[in-house]
Amino acid sequence: MINQLETPLYESLVSKFEIALLQGNDDRSRTLRQEAFQTFKTLGFPSIKNEEWKYTNVLPFLKDNYIAENTPVTSGTGYFQQAAKLVSAHLEAVQNSLKGEHKGAYRLVTLNGLIVPELSVLPSSSEIRVLPLSEATDQPSFEQHFGHIARWEDNAFVALNTAMYSDGLFIEVGKNTIPDKPLHIVNVLLSDAPVFVQPRHLFVVNAGAQLEIIETTISDDTTIPVFVNGVTEIAVATGAHFHHYDIQTGRNGMRFVQRTEATQERHSNYSNYTFTLPGADLVRNNLVLHLNEADLESHLYGLYLSAGTQLIDNHTEVHHKMPRGESNQLYKGVLLDKSKAVFNGKIYVYEDAQKTNAFQQSNNILFSDKSTVNAKPQLEIFADDVKCSHGTTIGQINKDALFYLQSRGISEATAKNLMVNAFAFDVTQKVKIPALRTYLEQLIAVEMEKA
């Protein structure tokens, strides 16, 4: 812990905490922040001695002289205009895939965590209610769920976010409401100095409602360190369906630690699709699901393509607490160059969770002999009438198949791209929005071209 106390970041956090404390205007939030910060101070950032961070050494990424931002930096029209340009270029890239898709999507643009209405095309609030988190504190759903879903007592990053979160999004879909279009959240991150940002989101899908969210992240092309410690709490009520797409691209200098934690009620479906592409230095996804009632479904699909010296770490946790839950985890990875990936998939089946079906699969291809993957399935089963399975494969590209394609006149680069897409196919085909699938395939093709 000693080296942590001496980092510029730690000092900045301690000094900014007092300011963060003033942000909450009610006692509950103040108490929560204080307790959480105390916990953070006690735990400290995790080292590799912590089992959950065994293969991912996050400490070197925390050494930059970040400023811990409380109020997201949007002052100055410079940032706004830059954001506008970036968003429009980004949308064009995505829209190209949307050609022919009449539906399109609602658009929510955030700049360093703050909603930018001028660049957004928001749904009517009768379909999807979108508010800055700071303005949602008197919403009933906020009071019911905020701070109750993401566990921070034993997790330093979540504790830190809970203590010092800047602002974020409150998104709610009312009972039995089915929006006609997905909501595309474009997160723009810009800074001219190293910065540590902590967005906090709460997504609530009420009984019988449905929601599709696509999250993308864009930035400029500097290499200024930006560390994002994000927490997203999600509540999926009875009979609700939430399809959550997260397309994680980035650039050098970006580091992401993202905790997404969801609770589910009876007959609900939470499906998470996380696609991580080359760019950011570090991406750590913690996806935790609490299947609190019986008869529900959860699907976790992940595809990661890592390049350079990138480190992509996916940790998943599915807690089956009641009977007849069905969960399915499928994570596939393609590792290029000297990159590293980690997959840890946990399944907990509690005593009362009879007739649980819980499946997990992790498949990885090492494209170079300098890439590394650490895959660890973890199952703790305390009920005796269940179906659970796990499978992990780590291999190399099939050279015979590659030669077969080349012998038909297909260049090596194109052949590799075909094979990576073939490998990724059972994850990419789960994407329900055809335009999004096309966009992803294009992103993959671009990366394979560089390889």
């Binding site: 080349q406 297909i410 897409n421």
Partner: protein, 250 residues
């Protein structure tokens, strides 16, 4: 068209081809037979550019161009086609997508415009009919779940689509029942022309009843030791390979 001169090649320091010579002119069908381990499949691998095979000396030219200097994809684009003995299954890569990509890369290399989706579909239908290849199979993933015979017939369908100058059929008849054999042969015969040539590697004379060769060569111990016409194949069927080996040693 194809000229192989004194080819020496091997894998992992073991020499397999020990001075092979072969001349193939347009319009010709050459059959290559020989005992196991003679180097027949190695010849096919070396010609198509399979990695792990090292050429230690000799030349291979196609219409004067040095083939050995080219990557496998460039050889294919110059007009070399290998029908694999064991075609590979590549789940997730659709037959159509794969063929369209291959065809268009070959056409681009030759300075021809890529085919539109419509043109490709028309060509595909035409060739399917020509080689009697089931339309159902075209829509599936490359060779996935195909029976042995279906895989071989997919090789011939690809041959028809890619229209190579020289096609090497590596034991295409192995694993085929009589009907499949007839269908494959019919297809190959329809594709024969004055502009292309075929090298048919086989163990058995039976295929050569259907695809009648102009020349039959016996490959033994890394070299072509005897050349004849189709009657040589019948002689081998009767006598086996021992007499050839004995002759070669004299």
């Amino acid at each position: 068209m194809l000229s192989i001169k004194d080819l020496h090649a091997g894998v992992e320091e073991k020499e397999i081809l020990k001075g092979l010579n072969l001349e193939v002119k347009p319009g010709e069908v050459h059959a290559i037979m020989g005992p196991n381990g003679a180097g027949k499949s190695s010849l096919a691998s070396v010609l198509s550019g399979r990695p792990n095979y090292e050429v230690t000396s000799g030349t291979v030219t196609l219409d004067g161009k040095d083939l050995l200097d080219m990557s496998p994809e460039d050889r294919a684009r110059e007009g070399v086609f290998l029908a694999f003995q064991y075609p590979i299954e590549i789940p997730g890569v659709s037959n159509i997508n794969f063929l369209k990509t291959a065809l268009n890369e070959i056409r681009t290399y030759r300075g021809e415009p890529a085919l539109t989706a419509k043109e490709f579909l028309a060509l595909s239908k035409e060739k399917q009919k020509l080689v009697e290849f089931d339309a159902k199979l075209v829509n599936r993933s490359l060779n996935e779940g195909f029976s042995g015979g279906e895989k071989k017939r997919n090789e011939i369908f690809q041959l028809a689509m890619l229209d190579p100058k020289i096609a090497i059929l590596d034991e295409t008849d192995s694993g085929l029942d009589i009907d499949a054999l007839r269908i494959v042969s019919r297809g190959v015969n329809k594709l024969r022309s004055e502009r292309n040539a075929f090298i048919i590697i086989t163990h058995y004379q039976r295929l050569l009843d259907y695809i009648v060769p102009d020349f039959v060569h016996v490959l033994s111990d890394g070299k072509i030791v005897k050349t004849g016409d189709k009657s040589l194949a019948l002689e081998l069927e009767e006598k086996g390979y021992d007499w050839i080996k004995a002759e070669a040693q004299q």
